[in-house]
């Protein structure tokens, strides 16, 4: 490892612009002649749009246009799509209602846009929006999942009778029933996985700029995957053909999944910019984010786990209801199915699993992938079940887990996934040691003497990342391939540009990706730049989500580097009159091994571009590209243990210690990996203690600002004690598993297991607010 190579704690290259206020986010961009959009949104959860009167608004100062959903239909702009087809157990395709970008006839959630005002300033657009009169006929609404599937419930979409999107199954029902029939003990659990609002700190924004002469659009947008945005906008929404649409995702202020999806606002901005002949900017405010950014989680689950007389798990049955909100968002269908039920084996040897997932429409904001996407729900369920089982079977929860761990790899689970490698004992041991698990009973007794209820909670998570082998996901219904692309350009003076289809919105790619180049060529990272986030600059790529940018994106860069190095070695060998096989790359030089003959990278690069003396038949230039398709998912795993105290008088929880032992395979930059874990842990703790996106029975959102939705703040959470155990991922040459989602996947179960341990009652829903904890403590 060099000082800036793989494994080095390199300070981030991108930080200087962020700490000096020079970041360039979408809302920071101003175009000449730019207009501003303000959307008119439904205040009702379910209503007919009887008419829109914009005559008064159109007379107001600075108003350029008022555009409605009907005009969008007239212009044949396509409906929003869901890109993953799921088949129900009866063989029928999922039942999807149409989702127009602005509703021409019916609104189905509070916040759905019906019209947009385009004006000379943001304030003038807002003023005019107040003067647009929308005539709504209110319809009965249903926000609660269980109410939505009852007979007689208000119906959302004619395409989906009973508000049911699909009824999907996985696993072997017969084998699972047989296991339960011979079980010595069965553990049952009902859990709710609370609905969350992702809340990246930068609200979504879009600037659309139509060039009439070229019939060309440029879209600046807050996207995690600008190429996918361009593809969807072109292929499905009829905005423009791909070569007439440039999508730029500049600095993006966090995503967590919510910026994967192509939303109505950027579609409308593009369409409107052509209609008004000027650039159109829309920047959401925080309440719009709560109303329109895809939410996460929202499951209701009943699960049963069967054990034999030796406390070995022999079967698992799961039935989950998943809330999709009012429409099927881009990847929503895959989240409670292939990203959830395929992880239900956890870290355990479970011979038989059967799971059924019912997808439900409600009059709420659409739900889609949020950090972890399905895997937090699976991990939470399994780890709450294991804790419940340990209490019921009266065995130590850590030891019950250990005795059921998978220890032989590869391991085929009954739910599709084939775990490639891991060492679950190692991470459990590391976490138990870090928290002094053995000393806990003494600490609990001391806390009791001080009037506090102390608890400890274990969570052993596993996830499937690097999403994913294209052929495999294609066979499961995905509408896209999930490879990644890269291009390595060595400039004539020897500096290097890496063009990547991955997108960095906080992950630090501008540093870690350079570290790979530094490692291979022995040059400083200052000689390398990373280009991403612009479809005019970068070849087609799939973007960043599912902890994939290192495992898949960086591997694509490696593959392109290998091609470039191979050509550069030929040039060097030719110049040095040596055999190509004898050339090694060290400290930025191509050396003839065992001699002092060498040629520096800039001279090789220059030779490639002057082309005066290249090997016969070689093309000039030094630029290579690669598309890398992973051979399997990666399987990051680890153990989190949380120790906390509950004040029985107030129900308030205080952290004592929180340890995380993760196996992410090879780490490129441990500093950045730790940062990813810290952030994920706090999102998991936020779910466990604070966060809940709530609707009343009529579908009115109760939590639509930071005044009402409890975001984790600095004094709500502890500092963390992190460590790593390592088994290298055999599925990619760098051995990387990915680290972006682990914290959010594993943390919430550790917290709830610890609180329920402290208070001595096993039933406690998230978020475990002081009020809820106090009521649970004092319930009869």
């Amino acid at each position: 490892m060099g000082v800036e190579g793989i494994g080095a704690r390199v300070v981030r290259k991108e930080d200087k612009r962020f700490i000096t206020g020079k970041g360039r986010y979408v809302d920071d961009i101003k175009l000449t002649g730019m207009t501003h959009a303000h959307f008119i949104r439904s205040p009702h959860a379910h209503a007919k749009v009887k008419g829109i009167d914009s005559s008064a608004a159109l007379k107001m100062p600075g108003v350029v246009a008022v555009l409605t959903g009907k005009q969008l239909v007239d212009d044949k702009v396509g409906n929003l799509i869901c890109g993953w087809a799921i088949t129900s157990k009866d063989g029928s395709p999922m039942k999807m209602g149409a989702w127009p970008a602005m509703a021409p006839e019916t609104v189905r959630f509070v916040g759905q846009a019906v019209a947009v005002v385009i004006a000379e300033s943001k304030n003038l657009a807002r003023d005019a929006a107040e003067a647009v009169v929308v005539d709504y006929e209110e319809l009965p609404a249903v926000a609660d999942m269980q109410a939505a599937i009852k007979a007689g419930a208000p119906q959302l979409h004619p395409e989906a009778p009973g508000n049911q999107v699909y009824d999907w199954v996985i696993g072997d029902e017969g084998a699972t029933d047989a296991a339960f029939a011979k079980a010595a003990n069965v553990v049952k659990l009902d859990v709710t996985n609370n609905r969350l609002a992702p809340n990246a700190m930068e609200p979504r924004a879009a600037i659309a700029d139509y060039d009439a002469a070229e019939e060309h659009f440029t879209l600046y947008t807050t996207s995690q995957n600008p190429h996918v945005a361009r593809l969807v906008l072109s292929a499905f929404y009829n905005i423009a053909p791909e070569h007439k649409l440039r999508v730029i995702a500049p600095d993006v202020g966090g995503g967590f999944g919510s910026k994967i999806f192509i939303y109505p606002e950027e579609m409308v901005a593009l369409w409107a910019s052509k209609k008004v002949g000027r650039p159109v900017k829309w920047t959401g405010d925080r309440t719009e984010a709560f109303l329109t950014d895809a939410h996460g989680r929202d499951h209701i689950t009943h699960a049963e786990m069967a054990f034999d007389a030796n406390n070995k798990i022999i079967g698992l049955k799961v039935k989950t209801y998943a809330n999709f909100g009012a429409y099927m968002s881009l990847f929503s269908s895959s989240v409670p199915t292939y990203l959830y039920a395929t992880l239900l084996s956890g870290q355990y040897n479970i011979p038989a699993i059967h799971a059924e997932v019912v997808g439900v429409y409600t009059n709420t904001t659409p739900v889609d992938a949020y950090r972890g996407a399905g895997r937090p729900e699976a991990s939470y369920l399994i780890e709450r079940l294991m804790e419940t089982a340990a209490r019921q079977l009266k065995v130590d929860p850590a030891e019950l887990r250990r005795s059921n761990f998978i220890t032989q790899f590869p391991h085929q689970t009954p739910v599709i996934m084939a775990y490639d490698t891991g060492d679950f004992n190692a991470s459990l041991d590391a976490a138990m040691k870090a928290i002094d698990y053995a000393g806990f009973p003494a600490r609990k007794a001391k806390a009791k003497a001080d009037g506090k209820l102390r608890g400890i909670g274990v969570s052993c998570y596993i996830e499937a990342c690097g999403i994913a082998p294209s052929k495999a996901v294609g066979s499961l219904g995905a509408g896209v391939g999930l490879w990644e692309s890269a291009e390595v350009r060595v400039n004539p003076v020897g500096t290097i540009e890496i063009l990547t289809g991955s997108h960095s919105h906080g992950q630090g790619h501008e540093t870690t990706f350079c570290q790979l180049v530094a490692e291979r060529l022995g040059i400083p990272i200052s000689q390398v730049s990373i280009v991403h986030g612009d479809t005019d600059k970068v070849q087609f790529g799939m973007g960043t989500y599912g902890s994939r940018s290192a495992a898949v994106g960086l591997t694509a860069i490696l593959k392109a580097m290998e091609k470039m190095e191979s050509k550069a070695k030929k040039i060097a060998a030719h110049a040095l009159e040596a055999s190509e096989a004898d050339i090694v790359i060290e400290n930025g030089e191509f050396k003839v091994t065992g001699t002092d003959k060498a040629i520096a990278l800039p001279m090789v690069a220059l030779a490639a571009y002057t082309a005066h003396n290249l090997p016969d038949g070689m093309e000039p230039g030094l630029k290579e590209s690669a598309f890398y398709d992973p051979t399997n998912f990666t399987f990051p795993a680890g153990t989190y243990i949380c120790e906390l105290e509950v004040d029985p008088g107030t129900g308030k929880t205080s952290f004592v210690n929180f340890v995380a032992a993760d196996d992410f395979g090879r780490l490129i930059n441990p500093m950045i990996v730790e940062g990813q874990v810290h952030g994920g842990l706090v999102q998991g703790i936020g779910q466990a203690l604070l966060e809940h996106a709530i609707y009343d029975a009529n579908g009115q959102p109760v939590t639509a600002s930071f005044m009402d939705y409890a975001m984790p703040r600095a004094d709500d959470v502890p500092s963390f004690n992190l460590s790593h155990t390592t088994t290298l991922c055999p599925g990619n040459p760098l051995g990387i598993k990915g680290c972006g989602e682990a914290g959010a996947i594993g943390a919430s179960a550790a917290v709830i297991n610890a609180i329920t341990d402290a208070i001595g009652k096993n039933t406690l829903e998230m978020p475990a607010t002081p009020d809820r904890v106090w009521r649970t403590i004092h319930a009869a």
Partner: protein, 161 residues
């Protein structure tokens, strides 16, 4: 419309703005100082924090007119040329930022915290004082480290002056 006279990052400026213009809008839209961000509109998240006459204020929650005659410092105004403010350097060195969106407000709040507490800062105090700044990326762990680190650096810098 009103004319607002104020000093921003050491330069006197006079701007004609609508009366309802917020200080953050004046900075971002009229002066192109886009380092100050808007994250919530309800005075909760702190992405918009700047200094007014040396004190941290949320610029989304006051009118530009209320800053008439005041001296405003934004994230763009705290480095001395190429020399970063110790708080900026500490955020970089401790990996106290990821997406960077909350960072300017965090840094401006953190400088104010250190100035108000002198060298008497511990983790619990920093966490309590950061209550008005929300970060979704870092989990605060490295932000707290950065603020404590910077408190030491600022003390050294002050002693040297």
């Amino acid at each position: 419309m009103s004319k607002v006279n104020l000093t921003v990052n050491g330069k006197a400026v006079a701007v004609d703005v609508e009366d309802r213009t917020l200080l953050v809008q004046l900075l971002r839209d009229h002066l192109n100082l886009t380092g100050t961000h808007v994250g919530c509109d309800t005075s909760q998240c702190g992405a918009c924090v700047v200094h007014m006459d040396g004190r941290a204020v949320k610029s989304c929650t006051m009118l530009a007119g209320q800053a008439d005659g005041a001296s405003i410092t934004t994230i763009e105004g705290i480095a001395k040329g190429d020399e970063l403010h110790p708080m900026q350097a500490a955020f970089r060195d401790n990996h106290g930022l990821q997406c960077g969106y909350c960072t300017p407000g965090m840094i401006m709040s953190a400088i104010d915290i250190v100035q108000r507490h002198g060298g008497q800062l511990d983790e619990a105090t920093v966490r309590h004082e950061l209550e008005g700044n929300i970060c979704r990326c870092t989990g605060y762990h490295n932000i707290v480290k950065a603020v404590l680190d910077a408190a030491g650096r600022m003390k050294v810098a002050q002693a040297a002056e």
